[in-house]
Amino acid sequence: MQKEGKIQIWQDYQKEIADDHYFYVRSCIRQNFFPGAEQTFLKILRTELNKDIYENPHHTSCSGIGYHSDVVPFDTIQTIIARQFALMTEAGYQNLAVSCITSFGIYNEIIETWKEFPSELEKVRNLLKKATGREFEIPKNVAHASDIVYKFRQQIAELGKNRFINHYTGKPLKIVEHIGCHYSKMFPSKGVGGAEFPHVLVGLIESWGGEVVDYPERRHCCGFGFRQYLVMSNRGYSISNSRKKFESMEPYKPDAIICNCPGCPMFLDRWQYVIEEMEGKTYGENGQGIPVLTYEEMAGLVLGYDPWDMGMQMHQTNVEPLLDKMGIIYDPKLKYARKDGNIIGKPMMVNCGC
């Protein structure tokens, strides 16, 4: 593997990422799967980087999952997106910061549609006006939240208390990155580093001391793939996709998997448990699973945030092997404790690798 070739591609796909004053649109699924991730992102921006990031409680789902499942028509999703932009315009913001990869793809797809077909834009302006009385401007800058973390990765590294270095060996931790299909496969120029060798997570991993694992099924779907999962009878496809990735990355002995998209960590995390239940197979060291993190959680660990405060007890594949390798001090007794210290009870399902 020749890194110079990748560096050339990364140079070809650099995008403009706004420096400050973001209008944040949350993911409808990330808050359920890994509820601390978005809060961690907001905390990093507001308290560590002193950035202005605003969110309006009236914003809704982008309806992207419904759109990709053919239950939300294009006119409807365009109008929903127009309403999000109207909230942004009313709040006086121009830079959109998107939490979800599906949404990021949707926002880009619709903005590009409006560029190609101005009549669609006019139609949607009329639809929104009639339905809500609102008007909107198209954002000047659209960034995925990971783009923003990427932009400030060196600053985070300088502020950081931990690095992705193996506490026991002093060597970089080996980390798999998964960017999510809708980040740049639809519009390579919208993603940092393009579609084939995206740099957005690679940049974070390397800036924070880790070593990236490039494995054969790196580009393969995580197993979400909407129809594979949303239709119950198709879920065998979902788990077999995830399994294909685990089998492919296993020889590299990764210490962790970092994900860009809200759906990907869910499937790469949960299916490890299911595969262990079904086949007795685990993919990490010593019969454990490979911890799966969101990039916000990863940044939080670097900055020394408490893993349980970030909601990492919600991971079904235990994160403790990674915390131990990074030399992070945590209290195992507080894993299932409330903020007041009372234990809320351990989940009935046994975690992967336990």
Binding site: E4, G5, K6, I9, E196, P216, Y252
Partner: protein, 341 residues
């Protein structure tokens, strides 16, 4: 004696220069590289009969030496102006030339395979282009892969950078199909135990003995042809490559592990031809190759009177076709000079 300036010292330029010298004209050949010969300098054997490239190159070069026309190497044309029926040419070497006619023979460039990012050229260790392989096919070429072993399974990918919306080249480069067949056979001769696969869209065996060679590749040399384009290649931990495609004849997705992946890169007009077009004030086709005034009867005429075109600056061409096109360019220049006196 009329003076003709030829831009480009590949086979088209050299052949045109020889023919015009034979016709009694004074010729100056301008070549931007340090030596003439163009892409031929980087090739080893020629399709469809495996003629060593030196055979063709030596004949043309000996002819050039014999004709004794002027050759300016390491030189590019800066400006061309036509005044009073003469072309005033200024070169990067600050020479001022006056010519009665100009022939553009600026050739082509190979498609930069890095632009097909999904194949990992210049990233994965054992992804090479047909041009790279040509060097390895020389008797002292090293075709071993990881661990110094000979590759056991090799795949060729046709149409890399040709007939491809993504890379912006809609045209067929014409010579890659037969190049792939030729190189696959050469590899089979060197590696009798290897499995060799060619992934293709169509196989366009348009030339003399091309189809016969393709048949021979299947029947005698056991080359496997699979109709399907590669979607991606990835490197495995042992440096071998995982490739994904679809076998469109069986209608099934296909995943294969190979030790060596050869990308059959196509032709592009390139910077030299674009620069020649700008300098000479002549038009380009949508493909980027230079526009001729008639597709049938005036394939050597540019849009500017007195500026002629020779070889693959007008379209992808084989060496045979280039030599023929160069000779016809010389004939057209000669006729035009006679008519304009």
């Amino acid at each position: 004696m009329k003076h003709i300036v030829i831009i480009g010292g590949g086979i088209a330029g050299m052949e045109t220069a020889c023919a015009l010298t034979d016709a009694g004209h004074w010729v100056t050949l301008i070549e931007k590289e340090a030596q003439v010969g163009g892409k031929l300098n980087n090739w080893s054997y020629l399709f469809p009969d495996f003629t060593p490239v030196d055979h063709v190159k030596n004949v043309i070069q000996s002819k050039c030496i014999e004709k004794d026309f002027s050759i300016l190497t390491n030189t590019e044309v800066n400006t061309i102006h036509r005044q009073n029926g003469k072309f005033n040419i200024e070169t990067s070497g600050e020479q001022q030339l006056e010519a009665d006619a100009v022939v553009v023979a600026s050739g082509y460039e190979l498609f930069d395979a890095r632009r097909k990012e999904e194949y990992g050229y210049k990233i994965y260790d054992h992804v090479i282009t047909s041009a790279d392989l040509e060097q390895l096919l020389l008797p002292d070429g090293d075709i071993t892969v990881a661990g110094g072993a000979n590759p056991k399974r090799i795949a060729f990918v046709h149409c890399v950078g040709s007939r491809d919306e993504k890379s912006g080249n809609h045209y067929c480069s014409k010579v890659c199909c037969i190049t792939g067949v030729k190189q696959a056979i050469e590899l089979r001769k060197r590696l009798p135990d290897a499995e060799i696969y060619c992934f293709y869209m169509d196989l366009r065996m348009y030339g003399k003995n091309f189809e016969e060679l393709y048949r021979e590749a299947q029947e005698k040399y056991d080359i496997q042809f699979i109709r399907g384009r590669l979607s991606e290649a990835s490197e495995k931990i042992d440096k071998s490559l995982l490739i994904k495609s679809e076998d469109t004849l069986s209608g099934r997705p296909l995943k294969m592990n190979v030790d060596l992946l050869v990308l059959l890169v196509g032709m592009e007009a390139g910077k030299g031809t674009k620069s020649a077009a700008t300098t000479c004030g002549i038009g380009c086709e949508e493909s980027g190759f230079l526009k001729t005034t008639d597709s049938f009867l005036k394939t050597n005429f540019s849009e500017q009177e007195g500026i002629f075109l020779a070889g693959s600056c007008t379209a992808p061409m084989s060496i045979n076709d280039t030599i023929s096109h160069a000779r016809s360019a010389a004939m057209e220049v000669n006729n035009w000079l006679k008519m304009n006196n």
